[in-house]
């Protein structure tokens, strides 16, 4: 798995918003082709961490390198190889599915064909639908398709299946497995342990803005002396997963 240059390298990241230390000290190395989960309770610093890695925010301290690029200095180059799906789907509400896909595809030099994207996220039947008429799950899947429109080498997916029903959630996992098999490196923020167990090669556990454990799902369970990943995270963080929203 180890390569000379990692897909993502974050070293000693810190970020404060006013009095709140959102990220205190996060270091993370993600190898090319890996799927790494980021888990933790509410306020653990998950979203800020991925925003720092995606170059959406400037860290107060530390450094980030993605595919050898500095997210701020090499912003234009990184945007071509990085696909980001944000926590909530933020898209033009009155545009149709294919109009949105074609818009986002137009930003990249060699985008995936629209039909391939529709097929990937199983939205072919909804291609003419207006975005605001889609169900929550369909909007989420469209958001993923848009994140993958430019054939990214690294995809950052935040709260992938939040709000989806169990059937839609499983379908989404199948989609991510197909993306993974095409060699895309994925950083996946999630609070669904079943999802993390199924999709992630390794899991970074965040608590109070720090990485307190980074291991395979099975490794975390062993380390915590637990029987399930849920229990392992509770043991490691000392917090109930009910708070992990």
């Amino acid at each position: 798995m180890t390569s000379v240059e990692p897909a993502i390298l974050a070293e000693n990241l810190a970020k404060r918003y006013g009095r709140i230390q959102a990220v205190a000290d996060v270091s993370l190395r993600v190898e090319v082709g890996e799927v790494v989960g980021v888990v933790g309770t509410n306020g653990a610093g998950k979203t800020t961490t991925i925003e720092l890695i995606a170059g959406m925010r400037v860290p107060d301290r530390g450094r980030v390198v993605v595919l050898g690029l500095d997210p701020r200095r090499d912003r234009a180059r990184l945007r071509q190889v990085l696909g980001v799906q944000l926590q909530h789907a933020h898209l033009h509400h009155a545009l149709r599915v294919t109009e949105l896909l074609d818009l986002y595809r137009s930003f990249y030099p060699d985008p995936r064909p629209t039909d391939e994207l529709l097929d990937l996220v199983e939205l072919t039947d909804q291609r003419r639908s207006i975005f605001e008429k889609l169900s929550g799950g369909q909007q989420q899947r469209l958001s993923i398709a848009i994140a993958l429109a430019g054939r990214p080498r690294v995809a950052i997916l935040d709260e992938l299946t939040t709000g989806l029903d169990p059937k839609a959630r499983r379908r989404m996992w199948g989609t991510i497995e197909r993306i993974k098999s095409s060699g895309v490196t994925i950083l996946l923020v999630s609070h669904a342990m079943e999802e993390v167990e199924r999709l992630c090669d390794r899991v970074a556990v965040l608590d109070a803005g720090r990485v307190i454990a980074l291991d395979t799902p099975a490794g975390l369970v062993d380390r915590a002396g637990a029987t399930t990943l849920d229990d392992a995270i509770v043991t490691l963080t000392g917090k109930n997963l009910e708070d992990a929203a």
């Binding site: 234009a76 509400h93 009155a94 545009l95 949105l100």
Partner: protein, 255 residues
């Protein structure tokens, strides 16, 4: 690994796609599409008949010199001060600009696309008003067409700059509409939208002539009559553009 990635900004094809999408957004927003086109037209229809009979100067009638400049300014002001800021505020609030910010596209492309579409919408509104005025009421062309087009461009820039101030200070889409409406009616009232600036107290009439709505109406009227556009109006419009650009560049937030 990084050396394989070339920095390539989205080009004209992306911008045209974005402009098409913005146009579809405007067309699918029925109120935003119809009000700026129909309200000024309605005002013209109610006053054009009488105004077209009254010659004021250089063979130009009250329709040419008072009604048409007011109608044109209203079209541009509704789109520039109310519609455009509410779109931008909605895009910011809903996170669309943030979403675009993680792609190779610059959120500034949205601004260009939105401005292009709203100028296009204003052009359709003005063209419709001109056609109706010429075909149904025998309106006359401006004595100095070049000056009229120049003033129209200046007025458009000034009213859009006013809209950018609204977009920059409004925290939510609702507040953008509210601030835009208040700004539109205040500037309109001081600029002669409700019966001419002559009816206002002297001080307010003077101020209204400097502000973008009144300055636009006054300058268009002068250009139509073939008289020199006065310095206070030009200065008022130019100052609005500069102030709008400054305020927007300092206060406008993409997120």
């Amino acid at each position: 690994m990084s050396t394989l990635v070339e920095a390539r900004r989205p080009g004209m094809r992306s911008l045209l796609t974005l402009i098409r999408c913005e146009a579809k957004m405007v067309v699918r927003d029925t109120a935003g599409l119809v009000v700026p086109l129909c309200l000024p037209l309605l005002i013209m229809l109610t006053s054009a008949s009488g105004a077209s009979q009254t010659v004021v100067a250089n063979g130009r009638t009250a329709l040419d010199l008072y009604v048409l400049p007011l109608v044109f300014t209203m079209v541009i002001a509704i789109i520039g001060i109310i519609n455009m800021p509410s779109f931008l505020a909605y895009y910011r609030r809903s996170g669309i600009l943030r979403r675009l910010g993680v792609t190779p596209a610059s959120p500034a492309m949205v601004l260009v696309a939105q401005a292009t579409v709203s100028v296009l919408q204003a052009t359709i509104g003005i063209t419709t008003a001109v056609l109706v005025a010429f075909l149904a009421f025998g309106a006359n062309p401006p004595v100095d067409i070049g000056a009229a087009l120049g003033v129209l461009a200046l007025a458009t820039a000034a009213l859009y700059s006013t809209g950018m101030i609204v977009a920059a200070v409004a925290p939510t889409p609702n507040s953008a509409v509210a601030i835009g409406l208040v700004a539109f009616f205040v500037l309109g009232a001081l600029g002669g939208m409700f019966g001419g600036r002559d009816a206002l107290p002297e001080g307010l009439a003077e101020i209204g002539g400097w502000l973008p709505f009144g300055a636009a109406v006054e300058a268009l009227s002068s250009a139509w009559a073939g008289t020199a556009v006065e310095a206070p109006q030009l200065l008022g419009l130019a100052t609005t553009i500069v102030v709008g650009a400054l305020v927007a560049s300092i206060l406008f937030r993409w997120e």
